[in-house]
């Protein structure tokens, strides 16, 4: 055992790291940036928007005031008949309106409609809204028993958090594994010298990148299918939409991940640096692309960042399809598919364009 030899190894590592600015950045800057973002997101004031249709009548106004005094709720007053559209547009997570009292019955009946796609919001509404309405009805007096009926726009009481997270986690996992595999693999093409040989052959840059897209894309698409089938048949997540569309979104996303892997691998000198792209690509998408925090709930600046991330569109499309049952006729789903395809094309073009320089 020689302290001197051990010290020599330590010194060598310190010298190497000192010259690798990217690694130093990863060690000192990235964790702080990610922690700051995470802390900010966790502390975002979280309130769930609840709409109430009110024409100004005393029972409706009392109910609205009771909801306003309940913690964690943000009350949106709506004209009678306007609530359903607002609920479908995603502006509110739940809607309270007065239901007609059946003939012969006494008292006031309120109906709570829960949007239902986010089980945590549903749970909060179900725990606070009926209690607040009951309080308001008790204030009104009249002796009649308060009544609140509950219905779901999407999903239902059987939807658990996994049903909400699965449409976002399934594409996220597929994306990350395919991205990592492709970026390291393409880098190997360069470090083992074969890229130099290929660049001196008639193979064009676009052909090379397309070849990667085809080869890795095949495995990526099969992987997507396996993950999806596992989620549906083994984890038994609830879904309502067409699995074919879900698979299509997944397939486009993973091909996009192949192209992004090829593109970014060119900016790494070795496998070590290629792996470092993981946190830079992973953390922003995991935090901002709507996996845990809905994009619509983010502050404007972060929402703009989210809109530049491909996973945002995959998550949105899959939740649209799997929870809300949207199909290809839905403009939201079509737009998401289009944006994902455009991202895949953009990464492909950029990868091909930047290749020659990197081979040199």
């Amino acid at each position: 055992m020689s302290l001197r030899r051990g010290r020599a190894v330590a010194r060598r590592i310190i010298f190497q790291l000192r010259r690798d600015h990217r690694t130093l950045g990863l060690i000192f800057v990235v964790p702080l940036a990610v922690l700051a973002l995470l802390g900010y997101l966790v502390r975002l004031p979280s309130s769930v928007a609840i709409g109430i249709e009110t024409s100004g009548s005393p029972p409706e106004e009392t109910a609205a005031q009771a909801l306003e005094s309940a913690p964690g709720l943000r009350v949106v007053r709506l004209a009678p008949g306007a609530g359903e559209a607002e609920l479908q547009a995603g502006g509110i997570a739940g809607l309270v309106k007065r239901a007609p009292t059946p003939s012969g019955a006494a008292g006031v009946i309120f109906e709570l409609t829960v949007e239902g796609s986010d089980p945590s919001k549903s749970a909060l509404l179900l725990s606070r809204v009926p209690a607040a309405l009951a309080r308001s009805l008790a204030q009104l007096g009249g002796g009649a028993a308060p009544q609140v009926s509950v219905r779901y726009l999407y999903g239902g009481p059987q939807f658990d958090p996994l049903d909400y997270f699965a449409p976002a986690l399934v594409p996220t996992f597929a994306f990350l594994f395919v991205f990592l595999l492709t970026s390291v693999s393409f880098l190997r093409e360069r470090t083992q010298g074969t890229l130099e040989r290929l660049m001196a052959s008639p193979l064009s840059r676009l052909e090379l990148v397309l070849g990667y897209m085809g080869g890795f894309g095949l495995f990526a698409v099969v992987q997507s299918a396996v993950i999806l089938l596992f989620a549906v048949f083994v984890l038994r997540i609830h879904y309502v939409g067409n699995l074919g569309i879900v698979f299509l979104v997944q397939a486009i996303l993973t091909v996009l991940a192949v192209n992004l892997g090829v593109l970014l691998s060119g900016f790494a000198r070795n496998e070590f640096q290629a792996v470092q792209f993981m946190p830079m690509v992973v953390f922003p998408q995991a935090l901002l692309a709507g996996v845990f925090w809905p994009v619509n709930d983010l502050p404007v600046v972060l929402r703009l960042v989210a809109q530049a991330l491909p996973l945002t569109y995959a998550n949105e499309a899959l939740r649209e399809v799997m929870i809300r049952g949207a199909g290809l006729q839905s403009t939201a789903v079509l737009r998401d598919l289009l944006v994902l395809t455009a991202f895949a094309g953009l990464f492909l073009a950029l990868a091909a364009m930047t290749l020659r320089r990197r081979a040199g």
Binding site: Q192, G193, E196, R197, L198, S201, P202, L203, A359, G360
Partner: protein, 245 residues
Amino acid sequence: MEDEAYAVETDGLAKRFGLVVALDRLTLRVPAGITYGLLGPNGSGKTTLIRLLAGLLRADAGSARVLGHDVTLSAEKTRHVVGYMTQADALYGDLTVQENVAFFADIFGVSDGRRVREVLHIVDLADRADSLVHTLSGGMRRRLSLATALVHRPRLLLLDEPTVGVDPQLRAAFWRHFHELNREGVTIIVSSHVMDEAERCDRLGLLREGRLLAEGTADELRRRAGRVTLEEAFLAYAEASNVAP
């Protein structure tokens, strides 16, 4: 193109990497059908010249013609007829010997499957066709690397230090094969810093700091320098260039 007297012609070729001058207004003519040796110490510009001729780098100034085509303007044309063997083996370790050659055959549009077996015979690797490349010895990998550069029947073969790490017996076999290719009309440009290999080349270009110090056959170079060995001749040319840069 068949009638070109020179396989390679460069005129005032210059290339810098930052402050380092890799090629300094290099003018060179390589007659077709011969083996031309680029000789010089490490950093003399041999690899830069080969990479320029292979279309991997762009010259800062000057021009280069390969088999009658300008390498910058007609890169697509020259790539079909140039074979390039890099200093590194540049092989896929997780593919078999045959799969590696077949891949490069596909890339160059060689559809005849017999050609793959043929080049494996040429480099004496036919019996290892199904071996994974990472199981091969260093010498076998060099031979396979040559096979992948030959599979499309190039008319100009650029070999960057092809015999580094190769034992004397295999080295002799390599040179026998290079001369066979010459007889078939293939021009070979081979870089080396090993002087005894230079004796096997039909003509030599002595490079130093990106400049052509002298050019000719080994005998001519020795005679002109008045030295017995090529190494002594090279040193004499280098010294003369220091005196009169």
